[in-house]
């Protein structure tokens, strides 16, 4: 069969790249006041592509380029998830981008490229293709993290992210090269065959294990698993708010799509040896969920809080990866269900927080005081999101945790499931702290922003790093005013302002999804089951 015989199966990818170029081109001709149209253009394009992908690729099971890429239910499922994430991210960033950032057209175009990178990550069945797709996603995120270029923290965030990202990519590539050096292959299936061909008694070249370990470390950086998580809080804190959301939702989902396929096709079929690695992954998962949730207790900055919360959730998802096996689709189903539920919940939380930030320019937990009175809809949404993240029933968080932890326990990791429940209980404390701030703490009588309120915490926590923006803490000049330009200071007293249409759309759809997954997830589970079958068979 010629290589290009079924090239038409890549139509969504070509169209997505075309859409990004269209956005870049339209940016050149649109006048300054109408740049937000580009956001709507991207959203419309992504929605059309979701429809095209589902109609074209439903039930298709083929490989392209001699097995480099797979077009199956698993790829389709993740592609749809990523494009929905793209739609939500663009919708929730539109106000932020038009009020606080320059170069709007490029922002949306780069988001589209990152979605393309994620799509290819879910489809790759080969290490180098997966790696280069991961790089497309990472490069887009480096740029987006540093997008608020007048803001020192955003610059710091972008710089830290690119250095850690390059470092982890190098580790990953080194691991790939060692696996290739020993086995001579990079396709997932061929890796499984090569590993299975090694006799149980025969000596194995240690460089193979070192290679696999380095790949694990490289991917561990990407999903922010402990002990490779140190970059996450700083990068999340400095990045523009919608990009913080994107980092915690999109890049995590994409990395886990890659991990799932790599583990399910490359390592799970090996049998005995997979059981040894399961233990390593389980320990990694346990450490990640404990450290993430315990350190989150001490956070006062909402973005850092969400960063540690997202590390904790990485730990839960890793537990599902550790439990993967050929006998049961449950762990893989659990991971995918968790990713959907976690994304929907995070959209609700971040939708509310971004809208709050757009009005006030503040990001400390204490700034939320009294929000229940001034912005009941935002406060209720954030509260529901927090309940869901903590895993309370009738919200998505309970259903996904119940399903995943049951699957993990079924596979013989009872201790890990128990630990996950314990970590969830710990997390309840800091999620409820946020709710308490909004509903029980009274609003400040005097507008607190007049004294740089809240930012002292940041400075104290950061030690030397804080020295850079100390000047904002003193004097009559309000501190936040210098952080993203003066515009937001004037809009701050308007906490009574109604949330914009896009915020209401994001929150409404997100809340609907949170309740739907929490109450009746079985239609979703049917599609997930089909996706799991595609990789575990």
């Amino acid at each position: 069969m010629p290589l290009t015989a079924n090239l038409d199966l890549l139509t969504p990818e070509f169209a997505l790249a075309g859409l990004a170029f269209l956005v870049f081109a339209a940016d050149l001709v649109l006048p300054e006041g109408r740049k937000h149209w580009l956001g709507w253009l991207s959203v419309a394009g992504l929605l059309a592509l979701i429809a095209v992908s589902v109609i074209m690729l439903w039930g298709v099971e083929e490989t392209l380029y001699n097995g480099l890429l797979a077009v199956d239910d698993f790829s389709l499922w993740f592609k749809v998830l990523f494009m929905v994430i793209g739609v939500f991210i663009i919708l929730s960033s539109m106000d932020f981008v038009s009020e606080r950032l320059e170069h709007q057209g490029e922002f949306y175009g780069i988001v589209l490229f990152s979605v393309l990178g994620m799509n290819v990550m879910a489809q790759s069945r080969e290490l180098l293709t997966a790696y280069i797709a991961l790089e497309l996603l990472s490069f887009s995120l480096y740029v987006l993290a540093a997008y608020a270029r007048d803001n020192a923290k955003s610059n710091e965030s972008g710089l830290k992210y690119i250095i850690i990202g390059a470092f982890s990519s190098a580790i990953l590539l080194y691991g790939v090269s060692m696996v290739y050096g020993v086995l001579g292959v990079t396709k997932f299936e061929a890796i499984a065959a090569g590993l299975a061909a090694i006799p149980d008694t025969g000596a194995v070249s240690p460089s193979l294990w070192v290679g696999v370990a380095l790949i694990l470390v490289g991917l561990g950086f990407k999903v922010a698993a402990v002990p490779f998580h140190m970059w996450a809080p700083d990068v999340y804190e400095g990045a523009p708010y919608p990009i913080t959301a994107y980092l915690s939702i999109g890049s995590k989902a994409a990395a886990f799509a890659l991990v799932l396929r790599l583990a399910a096709e490359g390592f799970v079929p090996v049998g005995d040896r997979w059981e040894q690695w399961q233990l390593i992954l389980a320990v990694l998962a346990a450490v990640t969920m404990l450290v993430g949730n315990l350190v989150a207790l001490a956070q006062r900055n909402l973005k850092r809080l969400m960063a540690y919360s997202s590390i904790g959730h990485s730990g839960f998802i890793l537990a599902g990866v550790a439990a993967l096996s050929l006998d049961s689709n449950l762990p893989s189903n659990g991971v995918m269900l968790y990713l959907v539920g976690y994304s929907a919940t995070n959209f609700v939380v971040f939708g509310g927080l971004i809208s709050f930030f757009n009005m006030t320019g503040k990001e400390m937990m204490s700034d939320l005081a009294g929000l229940g009175g001034t912005q009941p809809f935002l406060a209720a949404s954030i509260a529901i999101g927090m309940f869901s993240l903590a895993g309370l029933p009738i919200f998505a968080g309970f259903a996904i945790k119940f399903y995943l932890f049951t699957a993990v326990a079924d596979e013989g990791f009872l201790w890990l499931a128990g630990l996950a429940v314990f970590a969830s209980l710990v997390s309840l404390y800091y999620y409820l702290q946020v709710v308490r701030q909004m509903y029980i703490e009274p609003a400040e009588g005097e507008p607190a922003y007049g004294h740089g309120y809240g930012y002292e915490h940041v400075d104290a926590e950061h030690g030397e790093q804080g020295a850079g923006h100390n000047e904002s803490g003193e004097g009559d000049e309000p501190a936040p005013a210098r952080r993203y330009g003066a515009a937001q200071f004037e809009t701050h007293p308007a906490l009574g302002r109604r949330p914009s249409v896009t915020v209401i759309a994001v929150l409404g759809a997100g809340l609907l999804a949170v309740f739907w997954i929490g109450v009746y997830p079985s239609p979703l589970l049917d599609t997930i089951e089909a996706a799991s079958k595609a990789i575990l068979s």
């Binding site: 780069i110 060692m178 070249s205 070192v210």
Partner: protein, 162 residues
């Protein structure tokens, strides 16, 4: 004969690498990096990977080191000889030596079987790059595009600055 050449190249590569981290002058570090990278190209030649050697010299030896030197010249011309030292270097040294302690035995014990060294034809590389590996190749071009756009956005001065 090949062994003698290899050891000579390895010494130059490692020496260059050590000089990069040991020197306190950024320009010297960039030049030491050049030495190290070119020696790696020599190692590629030894294993008959001519294409890689060529690309290594052109891209790493040429483009990247020159960009580095330019960046140093344009950004901190007054203070470039200053050290870029870091208090964490003992920790970094321990970590690097630890990795070395893992990697050396990994390569020595049960090493990869020797295979006949043979050179890959340029046409073969080109063919596989544009057929079998067309998708990663195209995605690499998008990565470069994103990097280019990002660099312009971040570096370009906004309204009111010069």
């Amino acid at each position: 004969m090949a062994w003698v050449l290899f050891i000579a190249l390895a010494v130059v590569t490692l020496g260059g690498g050590l000089a990069v981290v040991a020197t306190r002058n950024v320009v010297h570090a960039a030049l030491a990096l050049l030495v190290s990278l070119v020696a790696v190209a020599g190692v590629y030649l030894l294993v008959y990977a001519e294409f890689l050697a060529l690309v290594q010299v052109l891209i790493y030896g040429g483009a990247i080191v020159i960009v580095l030197v330019f960046a140093i010249m344009l950004t901190r011309s007054a203070e470039y000889p200053r050290t870029s030292d870091n208090r964490q270097w003992p920790l970094a040294a321990v970590a690097a030596l630890g990795l070395l302690a893992v990697l050396v035995p990994a390569f020595l014990i049960n090493a990869v079987q020797d295979t006949e060294a043979k050179n890959a034809a340029f046409t073969g590389i080109a063919q596989s790059l544009f057929t079998t590996w067309a998708v990663p190749f195209e995605i690499a071009s998008l990565v470069l595009l994103v990097a280019l756009i990002g660099a312009i956005i971040i570096a370009r001065s906004g309204p009111g600055e010069n």
